[in-house]
């Protein structure tokens, strides 16, 4: 009996992180969408701190959960506006993704990508992004291009981080089943009215 209970508890704890994080993410999104930006930002901060603490203790789990949260956020959570600029919850998550990618050497979180075409795709994209960064810096410095437009460059970096992170997680942790399920359920919900702007 006790074994059974402990088994169920272990199984539940597997999903507890996802449920907690999703709840927290939903809070942030709903509050900020309702105009309570400061409370939303507070929750974002809380979310980031929780994420960092969890990452220190369970880096692999947090890495996988980050991807699930990103997909959930893209499909289901609404955008919010801060000083006239629109943000989405995945903009917070992408910061976490970058931090995880930066710490991967210490935790050896990901396996190296095996395919030559995929490697070339990653390297050429990085090359393009570096070129964009340099040309933007040059124009900000010499042609009076406003620094706020760096946001457009960050957007491209963000999509690249999505692609790279998801690819690494699917390849390293064989999570294609769950990612496939996410990709299965959310378009269906979107088709039948689950998506909000």
């Amino acid at each position: 009996m006790l074994k059974e209970v402990s088994k169920i508890t272990v199984q539940m704890s597997k999903y507890l992180y996802i449920i907690l994080c999703t709840l927290l993410a939903s809070f942030v999104a709903i509050l900020t969408a309702q105009g309570a930006i400061y409370i939303g930002l507070l929750f974002s901060l809380l979310f980031v701190i929780t994420g960092i603490i969890l990452f220190i203790t369970k880096p692999k789990k947090v890495t996988i959960i980050t991807v699930y949260l990103m997909v959930i956020s893209v499909f289901l959570l609404p955008r919010f506006s801060v000083s006239g600029v629109n943000f989405r919850f995945e903009d917070v998550i992408v910061v976490g993704m970058v931090l995880i990618l930066l710490t991967t050497y210490y935790h050896s979180l990901f396996l190296p990508l095996p395919n030559v075409w995929v490697k070339m795709f990653v390297y050429t994209t990085i090359f393009y992004l570096i070129y964009s960064l340099l040309i933007t810096i040059a124009n900000v410095a010499f042609n009076d291009l406003s620094i706020i437009y760096f946001l457009f460059l960050l957007k491209e970096f963000q999509y690249f981080i999505y692609a790279l992170f998801l690819l690494l997680v699917i390849f390293s942790y064989k999570t294609e089943k769950n990612c496939y399920r996410l990709s299965l359920y959310f378009p269906r919900s979107l088709l039948f009215g689950g998506y909000t702007k």
């Binding site: 995929v118 040309i135 291009l145 437009y149 457009f152 491209e156 999509y159 390849f171 088709l191 702007k197």
Partner: protein, 261 residues
């Protein structure tokens, strides 16, 4: 009731955005239809795909509809020429498609007439308006800017605000990163297509989905900045990574029975 720009709350406010979104969802359902073994599930996802295609049509986005037609023709041709046909599925799916088409023609004639008017007679005026806009935007940059680029966000200094209104991904790229940047931007896309072509024979569903997604996005890129719009671009990269990941994992798997469904 179907709105002018799509389906109200479940779509973006502009026709091209919701059109692009529904097109991606249609392709995703087509992929799901192709990977399932059971005919019942295959037909269910085919039906979902048809609904999504009809919603694409209802958005009246000319680019999304053109992309959808081209992508569909390629998909059907590939299936007819290179795939082993499942006779029961093929026959039943033809019945499903024919029934859906008949129902659509019977109950949604005004929308179809409107789509036809917009596609046929509105095509020239739409193309001319956009051509003039692109010429005007490109003329704002000097030659050095056109070759090396004027920096990310330069287009916004011409159009104002943060809304993406260059109405072409390619024009935006030429203005912001120049012809050099445009070539650099194309190289990863070509590499992705090459990756898909290399694996097309063995991992047909995933590879074909990668090719069709990229093709659809490149067509839509002609008239709007589809690689920058949050939802479309995010879904595009999520799906591309998912398909590549599935192919890599299938390749790495020691047994041939590694299936994701």
């Amino acid at each position: 009731m179907f709105g002018f720009y799509g389906i109200g709350t479940i779509s973006e406010g502009a026709s091209s955005q919701s059109g692009g979104l529904f097109l991606v969802i249609s392709l995703l359902f087509l992929y799901q239809s192709s990977i399932h073994v059971k005919n019942k599930l295959k037909l269910y996802f085919l039906f979902c795909s048809i609904i999504s295609m009809f919603l694409t049509l209802a958005t009246v986005s000319r680019t999304a509809i053109s992309a959808m037609l081209i992508v569909l023709i390629i998909y059907i041709l590939y299936k007819l020429l290179f795939s082993k046909l499942n006779l029961i599925y093929t026959f039943t799916s033809m019945v499903v498609v024919a029934t859906c088409s008949l129902l659509v023609f019977k109950y949604f004639t005004p929308i179809l007439e409107y789509v036809e008017r917009r596609l046929v007679s509105g095509f020239d005026s739409g193309a001319n308006t956009r051509q003039n806009k692109w010429d005007r935007l490109l003329s704002e940059s000097d030659n050095i800017g056109l070759v090396f680029g004027n920096g990310k966000g330069f287009t916004q200094t011409l159009t104002g605000g943060f809304t993406l209104s260059a109405d072409s991904q390619f024009v935006r790229l030429i203005l912001e990163v120049g012809y050099i940047g445009l070539v650099l931007w194309f190289i990863p896309i070509i590499l992705l297509i090459t990756f898909a072509l290399v694996h097309l024979k063995r991992y047909t569903s995933e590879s074909l989905s990668i090719i069709l997604l990229i093709l659809a996005f490149l067509i839509m890129s002609v008239t709007h900045e589809v690689f920058l719009v949050t939802i479309q671009a995010s879904i595009f990269w999520i799906m591309i990574s998912l398909f590549i990941g599935i192919i890599l994992n299938k390749k790495n798997s020691s047994s041939n029975s590694h299936e994701i469904v």
